[in-house]
């Protein structure tokens, strides 16, 4: 019998033709999904030519979207998307999301049903960890890796040790997945999960929507992690049922699996969190930080700009106005989210409140465009990194928080507790789920999926 393994070890073993693998081993892993965007893919295209490979190993396993600097912010980024476009056509890649249908890749891929439990997925981008929320192994890589992956369909990995997080209890009113992950990173530090995978369990996780789970796994890399992962369950199955008919395999950690460390967390005692400049691990409960005046409030990124995030922000902004002098910027994560927000009337709320609304893009999250910060400016943001220079000038200051906290801060003109802007506990359950990013006619019928292993 194979040794007891974690979900990550099982997925890696299944993809390198072995019965079992152990942390520390270097294994060559077959890839199920490769996601490409315009920043790290063009160098990889050049590198493929260096090894004389003119065709990708399998165009059906590749998804492409421009996201970082869309719409093109200058001549150089126009050249990058142009090259990406040329290459997609040359390679015959069908899952290509051009401007208007585009989105931040880590938000677009789940929304389109491209990531499935049990898969191995890579992307030339560190927040690929997001996709682990589906019970998949997903990790960020560089351009050379990407070239090798595109050319051969496989890649070397060191089997990571696993840190287990048992999160019990119910998140209190006004406290969200973002607050939980900022809390966790404040405990692990920005390198506490270095080379490891972060595996999440517990009633607080199983009670979460897929979108919230994505927020948690998104920030694994902010703790230094190689990946974040959650076992697929009924919530996952329900989410996927509406988006794909592809079969998949659900892996689960064995009871006797070995963990490098186990963290026990009680979600019910948490409060809204804010990570102070300039590390994501500088998380504090909101009570310690509410006097700080802000110049900008930014709601965007692959962490927190899905439809549920925009709804939370809109609930707080409804019938209110952004404080004088504050720039409030809303950047939906994908074109699908953008259209859905428009239909739900969220844009009316944001516009009436004095926000500007952008197309889906990484934008100012990485100091690209759409709200880059000047010297000394203070921004509260729903993004994932507040490093020196991340959103613009090295002397700008970035505070990280949930969409609700950012919205409340925009209204207050200073960092504010979202609970002060919510009269009564919000209806969290039984809310009608809307299918984002898939046109009505495209909805696919249900098909049986593999459940087991």
């Amino acid at each position: 019998m194979a040794r007891s393994m974690t979900i990550t070890e099982k997925i890696l073993a299944a993809h390198c033709g072995r019965d079992s693998v152990q942390p520390g081993e270097i294994v060559n892993v077959k890839l199920d999904l490769i996601v490409c965007h315009e920043v790290t893919t063009p160098p990889a295209i050049k590198m493929m030519a260096q090894i004389g490979v003119s065709k990708v190993f399998d165009p059906t396993k590749i998804v492409v979207t421009p996201d970082h600097f869309v719409p093109n912010k200058d001549i150089q980024t126009a050249e990058l998307t142009k090259e990406l476009h040329r290459w997609v056509k040359e390679q015959g890649i069908e899952r290509y999301h051009q401007l208007g249908d585009h989105g931040i890749c880590h938000a677009l891929v789940p929304e389109q049903g491209y990531i499935l439990p049990g898969m191995t997925a890579v992307c030339g981008d560190s927040h690929t960890t997001t996709l682990g929320a589906f019970g998949a192994f997903a990790s960020g890589i560089g351009s050379t890796d990407l070239a090798a992956a595109l050319a051969t369909g496989e890649l070397w990995f060191r089997v990571p040790e696993t840190l287990r997080f048992n999160v019990k209890g119910k998140l209190p009113h006004g406290v969200y997945a973002k607050d939980l992950i900022l809390y966790i990173i404040s405990k692990t530090g920005v390198d506490g999960a270095r080379y490891c995978t972060m595996e999440y369990h517990g009633s607080a996780i199983t009670a979460m929507s897929m979108e919230s789970r994505l927020t948690i796994c998104n920030m694994a890399v902010e703790a230094g992690g190689k990946s974040g992962i959650m076992e697929a369950d009924k919530v996952t199955a329900k989410y996927l049922k509406k988006r794909t008919t592809q079969p998949y395999t659900v892996f689960q950690s064995d009871a006797g699996a070995h963990y490098k460390d186990v963290y026990e967390i009680d979600a019910s005692v948490l409060e809204p969190m804010v990570a102070l400049p300039s590390l994501p691990s500088n998380g504090r409960f909101i009570g310690e930080v509410t006097k700080i005046a802000i110049d900008q409030a930014y709601i965007g990124s692959c962490t927190n700009a899905r439809i549920e995030d925009l709804r939370e922000a809109a609930r707080i902004m409804k019938n209110r106005h952004v404080a004088p002098g504050v720039k409030a910027i809303v950047v939906p994560a994908t074109s699908g989210v953008w259209r859905q927000a428009l239909r739900e009337g969220l844009f009316d709320i944001f516009a009436d409140a004095g926000c500007v609304i952008s197309t889906a893009t990484c934008g100012a999250c990485l100091g690209g465009h759409m709200g880059v910060l000047g010297k000394g400016e203070v921004c509260i943001s729903t993004t994932n990194r507040n490093f020196v220079g991340r959103m613009g000038h090295p002397e700008a200051q970035v505070y990280l928080a949930s969409p609700a906290t950012v919205a409340a801060s925009a209204i207050a003109g200073r960092i504010a507790d979202p609970r002060d802007y919510m009269e009564k506990p919000l209806p969290r359950r039984g809310e009608k789920e809307v299918l984002v990013g898939v046109a009505e006619g495209d909805r696919r019928p249900q098909e049986d999926y593999l459940w087991g292993v």
Binding site: K46, Q50, Q76, S143, A148, A151, L366, G368
Partner: protein
């Protein structure tokens, strides 16, 4: 001896020097190595590029290269003339990218206390040591694993997989050369 590298140290003793500091995202609109090199370490040390000499070392604290997956960080440092980074330890994607580029990143806990900017240092790959020539002290770095050696000896991931898959590898236009042959790390014929 081909396995000894010598150069001056540029020390950044803080932990968690991230890729936004190594090469700010505002320069990611290009992947031209020479262009990236002009902005290496710009936000943390604006003088870095004017001070650095080919063959120099970056010496840093823990978790060097954390943050984004941009390989541009490795390209910028190498093209600026850095032949090797020595840090207490690395964020995983930076380490991976270094290895994939055949660029040497060695681990040596506590190294920032042993070296001051401007010190002349010597890294001996065979002996596994870092000698501070200026101070006359010597440290051992963590041994390179067989896999790391194999990858470095191949010259990085592209030549490595080219060999595995029977493909022909054409190197990119030259970047500033190391004065040490990493191929000497491995016995011939591997």
């Amino acid at each position: 001896m081909g396995s000894v590298m010598r150069g001056r140290a540029h020390v950044y003793s803080r932990a968690h020097i991230n890729t936004d500091e190594i090469i700010p995202a505002r320069y990611l609109n290009t992947h031209d190595h020479a262009e990236l090199a002009k902005h290496a370490m710009e936000d943390i040390d604006p003088e870095f590029v004017s001070r650095v000499q080919p063959g120099d070392f970056v010496v840093a604290g823990e978790d060097f290269g954390c943050g984004s997956s941009r390989e541009h960080a490795v390209w910028a440092l190498r093209s600026a003339g850095i032949q090797c980074v020595i840090a207490a330890n690395y964020a995983r994607i930076f380490f991976r990218n270094s290895l994939n580029n055949g660029f040497l990143a060695v681990e040596c806990p506590g190294i920032v206390d042993k070296i001051t900017s401007g010190d002349e240092i010597e890294v001996d790959l065979e002996k596994g040591t870092i000698r501070n020539v200026t101070r006359g002290t010597e440290e051992a770095f963590l041994p390179l694993t067989p896999f790391v050696k194999e990858m470095l000896a191949a010259g990085g991931l592209l030549p490595y997989i080219a060999r595995r898959h029977g493909l022909e590898y054409t190197p990119a236009p030259p970047v500033p050369r190391l004065d040490v042959k990493l191929s000497q790390l491995m016995p011939a014929g591997r």
